[in-house]
Each structure stands twice: as C-alpha cells, then as structure tokens.
C-alpha cells in the first residue's frame, strides 16, 4: 500500500481529489455556489496534466447531466458536481440517467432551494430528487466526502447496481471549510477501482444499439421493477465495498453508524455535518448522566430500513433531526422511518425536528433542546406533536 498523504483542503477540493483518483474520462459541469470549486479544480487538474480527461463547460446543469448521459452511454467514466437550483434544473435528467442504468457520479454541495433564494446549507436539493433512482450518500466531513466519492464509483459501476450516485457535502460547513484529509495513493485506488466496464452495450457503430427507447405499458413497469431491484441490491454491494475500503484504506463506513447507542433511551438520528455537533452534544449530555446516543445516516438511498430498525428499536424514543421539509407533511426521513417501523411490534416513539434550513446553525444547544423535547415524549409515553421546528429566530417571527 502506498502512503496516504495528509492535506488540508476545502470540502469541494476533497470531493475533487476523490474524483480525480477515480480517473474519470469526461467532466461535464456548470458552476453554482457552493460547488463551483469542484469544476474549477477538475479543470486545473486537466490543465496541469494531472488528469487525462475532458471538461465540457456546458451552458446549464440540465445540459451537464445530459452530456453526462451521452458520455456515459458512450462508455466513459463520468463525474459532475452541482447544488441546489442546479440539482433542481437537472431533476428531469437524473431520472433518465438512472433509468438508462448509467453509473454517473455527482458531488453535491447541499444547499437550500429558492424562494427566497439562499446559498447556505440544507438538504432540500437532494432530498427533492430522492425518487430519481440515484443512490445518495451524505458526508459528515471532508474526509468522508473524499472517501465516499471513491466508493461511489465502485458501487455505482458494480454490475449488480449500475445506477448514478450522489455524494452530498454540506454547503459552506464542508464545501468551503478547510479540514485535514488523508488522500489515498493513486495506485491503491487503481487497485480498488478497476476501469469502468459497461455491462450491456455502449454507443458504438460496430455494435449498434438504441438507447432511450419508448417503452409501452406492457414493458415500462418491468423496467422500473428491475431498476428498483438494482437499487435494493446495492444495499449489500455498499456493505461489501465499504468493508473492502476499510480494509485497504483504514477508514470504516456504514450505511448507519452509531455513537453511544447501546444503552440509550433516546437516539438522535442525523445526516451530514450536523452529526459532528450532535456527537459533541451527546458527550456533554452523557457527562450530565443523560442516556442519549447518535445514529448517523450516511446512505439515504437505498434507505437502510433494516439497519435503522435494528439500531433504533432498542431506544424509547428517536429524534429525527432534518434539514429538509415537505410542506404539508414532515421531513422526508421521519416519514420513511415511520414507514420502516409501522409493521413492527417493538418500536420507539418517533419525533421529527426540522432545523438547519438555509444555513441556520445547528448548535450543541439545539441538540440539548431536541433531547429535552424528546424526553418529554418519553415521559408522556406518547407523541402529541409529531413534528416541531427548532432553533427558530423568534425575534423575526410575526
């Protein structure tokens, strides 16, 4: 094994370094805050001869994903990056990339959606595309961003999967924040990730094939069934690949990772960079004798139902903390988690906390408040108000 070099980099650079190590052939991308540094860095790598690939500086995110589809169908390894309105603009093409079974990898700087326009962190952009058929990973820190990019290619390109993968890093909190990362050696990534081998045909005049057929009702549902099965299958592929990565590179990833959950009465379920703050809050609360633990979602698609049931069923209550909201319903994770428990005898009480929208800070104090509110639920033995907004700025409310 080659030495892993330590570097201090912004989150966008971390995902770019991860992408570079995977030797993509084509990088179609369009700049958008806060992920712009990704295409900038990829352009630099190519300009400096560090990466043998071509940028396509397209005129929109819609065209970015369209060019990704064309290039991937031609047999190239393809990577792009986007955020917020950009992810929303390419929404249509995400479904098409997945339906065509093209393992495109995209780094996302998770950012709020307009209106009002806001460039800061929440998870609404990728959550809004949760049904597109793309796998979705969320990083807690820059190291995770880098590592998850490398894992994303291997998982997406696995012939049992063949689906696009998104790797989310939180806007500014990660994208623009310098953190120390360990960068694997190129030869070790080459060993871990073989060149992309399409499973069933590419656009090649020597073997003509039609991509993007029109499927009538007698076929369409079966295509969607097969695609959904591939997403389900990706669950075990993720476990295999994460385990192999841990063995080779010494960093362990789980679909859901835990902290102090063994004896916890209350578990905080988090995703992305808030998980680090939650861990700090739990350390402090544990010092005060509170039995609280953390479950962190790294993989949101496929939704790790079984793992979540296993981990959370032992708790009395779970606080689902989310940086997204489906107006008229709840946070996306809460609704899906409730679904995961609906047919179970043993289930914790579930309470949803919406916070951290549009860059609202989620502090240790926020988690304390969430804990206290969840404790009330435990004491009452029932959930009267399933969803609450926390860390509201009362001064500006009317």
């Amino acid at each position: 094994m080659g030495e892993q070099i330590s570097m201090t980099v912004k989150g966008n650079m971390a995902t770019a370094l991860g992408a570079k190590l995977c030797r993509p052939n084509v990088v179609p991308a369009y700049p958008i805050t806060p992920s712009t540094l990704f295409p900038e860095k990829m352009s630099e790598f190519i300009a400096d001869g560090e990466l043998d690939a071509s940028m396509i500086n397209v005129e929109s995110e819609h065209s970015a994903m369209s060019a990704c589809i064309g290039a991937s169908a031609t047999g190239a390894r393809v990577v792009t990056a986007s955020a917020s309105q950009g992810v929303a603009l390419m929404h249509e093409m995400l479904f098409i990339a997945a339906g065509m079974r093209l393992p495109i990898v995209m780094a996302v700087g998770n950012r709020a959606l307009s209106a009002p326009i806001n460039i800061w962190c929440d998870h609404q952009d990728t959550i809004a595309s949760r049904d597109s058929g793309c796998l979705q990973f969320y990083a807690e820190n820059n190291q995770e961003g880098l590592d998850l990019m490398i894992n994303a290619f291997r998982i997406g390109e696995d012939h049992r999967v063949l689906l696009p993968v998104m790797v989310g890093i939180d806007a500014f909190v990660l994208t623009h924040t310098m953190e120390a990362v360990k960068v694997p050696a190129q030869e070790d990534v080459d060993d871990f990730l073989p060149p992309y081998k399409p499973k069933y045909g590419i656009l090649d005049h020597r073997e003509p094939a039609t991509f993007g057929s029109f499927a009538p009702p007698e076929y369409y549902q079966e295509f969607k069934y097969e695609q959904t099965k591939a997403m389900e299958k990706s669950s075990e592929v993720i476990d295999e690949v994460f385990a192999d990565y841990a063995e080779r590179f010494g960093r362990e990833y789980c679909k859901v990772s835990t902290f102090q959950c063994e004896d916890a009465d209350i578990i905080l379920l988090t995703m992305g960079s808030m998980s680090g703050t939650a861990r700090e809050a739990i350390r402090k609360m544990r010092g005060d004798g509170k039995k609280v633990g953390l479950a962190k979602l790294t993989v949101y698609r496929p939704f790790p139902e079984a793992e979540l049931r296993e981990i959370l069923s032992k708790a009395k209550a779970v606080a689902v903390v989310e940086r997204n909201i489906s107006p008229g319903s709840t946070g996306a994770i809460y609704a899906e988690l409730a679904g995961a428990f609906i047919n179970q005898k043993k289930k914790p009480l579930l309470k949803n906390f919406i916070t951290g929208l549009g860059g609202r800070d989620i502090l240790v104090e926020t988690f304390r408040e969430i804990y206290e509110k969840t404790l009330e639920v435990v004491k009452a033995g029932e959930v009267k108000e399933p969803m609450e907004w926390v860390a509201m700025n009362e001064e500006v409310m009317r």
Partner: protein, 297 residues
C-alpha cells in the same frame, strides 16, 4: 450510387404517418452519413415512431434522452468518443424537430455550437409540435392555423413570423450552416456530406412537410416541399464560417411562383383571405429580394 447508399439505416416498419416528410429526410441523411455514425434524437415524432420497445428502426447507434437536449447529449457522446480514442472516422449527428430545436432545445443547441463540438445538428422542420397534436411553436409561419393558434373571429391563426433559426445558428460563427428540403434530394445530400466533412459544428435546417399537421394529402408531401422553394417561402442556401452577409443560394427557381400556389394546397392556410395572402406575398417578395432570388411570375 455507392454500396453505402443502398443501405437502409432507417429501417422500414417505423410508425411515421403515411407520407411523412421526416421519414424521407432521415432515410436520405443516413444514406450519406453511413453506418459509422452515432445519432442523438429529441423526444417527439421521430423518437415515438422509431424506438418503440422492443423494436427500433435504427441500424446505427442511437440515443434519446429528453426533448430539449439532443445537442447536449451529443456533446457528451462526441467528447467521450475523443477521450476514449474512438472518434476517428465516426460521425456524430444530433437530430431535433423544430420544437426541440427552435424552442425547448435552443439553449442546449446554442451551447453546443458555441463550444465547437464536431457535431452535425440536423433540424427536421415541420413547423409545429406535431407529436402532441399540432401546437404552434416558434417555427410555425405567420397565418398557419394550429391547435394553439387557431383561426377564429379575432385570430388569423399564428400571428408571428417564423424564427430565422439557420441565420441565428450561423451567427454563432460556426463553420457550416445550410438549409435543405426533402424535395431537393441531391442538394440535401450534398449539404449533409459537407456538414459531416466539416470539422466542428454544422447546422442543417431541413424542411419536411407533415401531411397530418399541414392537412394536405399524403401524396402531396414532396410537391408542397418543392412549392415552398419555387415560391421563395423557403430558401435553400449555405453559410460558410457564419458569414451571414455572403450566403450562397444553392437552388434558384428560374421564375418564382406566387405564394398562393403553396398556401392553397394546405388546409392549415385554408382560412386566409386574399388580403392575408397578399401580405404574406409581400413579405416573401422582400425576403427574396434580399436573397437575390428572381422576381415573381
């Protein structure tokens, strides 16, 4: 006729309407392009009639993704081919209908042309959204009645002139731009050949009547296409390196027929009055003067 030209790369059995001008256009274009070609298409008639699973009319590699992005998908294909060392001797053609080119796909087209991809973009123009049932688009000519620009007590039908797409594309400074017409097969084929031989982006605007949408007999398709040129309604020309001021008219009718000969053959124009036709005639005359075409009969 070479052996390559005998190949039918757009196969029979496609579901285009009887007398569909697009069928003739694609068939002839692929005869010139040959089997070493990869094509992209837009959502629309061409996609619906040719790719219904489990069948396909295409003998060459084809990709359809969505309505508005034939040019962007083609850009991905072209760059990937170059990057993977497979571009040599391979044509990349992006097909679009008029809706997918003039309207919803215009941004992606402009981006592709501006970036200088080695792609021939071919718009097959039947002057409305035909696949969804004859709605107007920016290619629909003045006076045409469509389902969203119907003629009525207060409406002449389409109230705006046709967008000059070829000139707009040429204005990007691309090396080759041309207009063509399915009635003039040799002229069309020459232009396809030139476009494909051009290094960098080329744009071809191919006029192809639609019997269903224009409401003419299925056997009239070619005759009406020809009348569009003979009346000066649609002018056949080439523009090299975006030099719009020096366009080369490739087919000049000896004497121009009156536009009425063209309009009266199509029920989409059936409601036009003498005055309406005179107005259209005047505009066509002015345009033909600019192009240096002969005076009207």
């Amino acid at each position: 006729m070479t052996e390559k030209e005998e190949l039918e790369l757009f196969a029979s059995g496609h579901r285009a309407c009887a007398g569909c001008g697009e069928g003739t256009a694609v068939r002839q274009i692929l005869k010139v392009a040959g089997p070493n070609t990869i094509a992209t298409i837009c959502t629309g008639c061409l996609e619906v009639v040719s790719t219904g699973y489990p069948e396909t009319a295409w003998e060459i590699p084809l990709i359809h993704a969505a309505f508005e992005n034939s040019a962007a998908v083609a850009a991905g294909v072209e760059v990937a081919l170059k990057e993977l060392g497979r571009k040599e001797g391979v044509n990349v053609i992006a097909f679009g209908g008029d809706g997918g080119t003039f309207d919803i796909g215009f941004q992606a087209l402009s981006g592709m042309l501006e970036r200088g991809h080695d792609i021939t973009y071919i718009c097959i123009d039947n002057e409305a959204y035909m696949n969804t049932g004859i709605q107007r688009c920016s290619s629909t000519p003045y006076g045409a009645s469509t389902t969203t620009s119907p003629t009525g007590k207060y409406s002449i039908g389409e109230s705006r002139p046709k967008k000059p797409i070829a000139a707009i594309c040429a204005a990007h400074g691309i090396p080759y731009t041309a207009t063509a017409n399915i009635a003039y097969i040799n002229d069309l084929k020459k232009k396809v050949k030139k476009a494909l031989e051009t290094e960098g982006p080329a744009f071809l605007h191919v006029f192809a009547p639609c019997p269903t949408g224009w409401r003419h007999g299925s056997d009239d398709t070619i005759e009406i296409a020809r009348l569009a040129v003979e009346t000066g309604v649609f002018v056949l020309y080439e523009i090299i390196d975006g030099d719009i001021c020096n366009l080369n008219v490739t087919v000049k009718p000896k004497k121009r027929k009156p536009v009425e000969d063209y309009l009266k053959r199509q029920r989409r124009f059936g409601h036009l009055t003498k005055e309406d036709i005179a107005k259209i005639q005047q505009e066509v005359d002015e345009k033909c003067d600019r192009y240096g075409l002969p005076k009207r009969e």
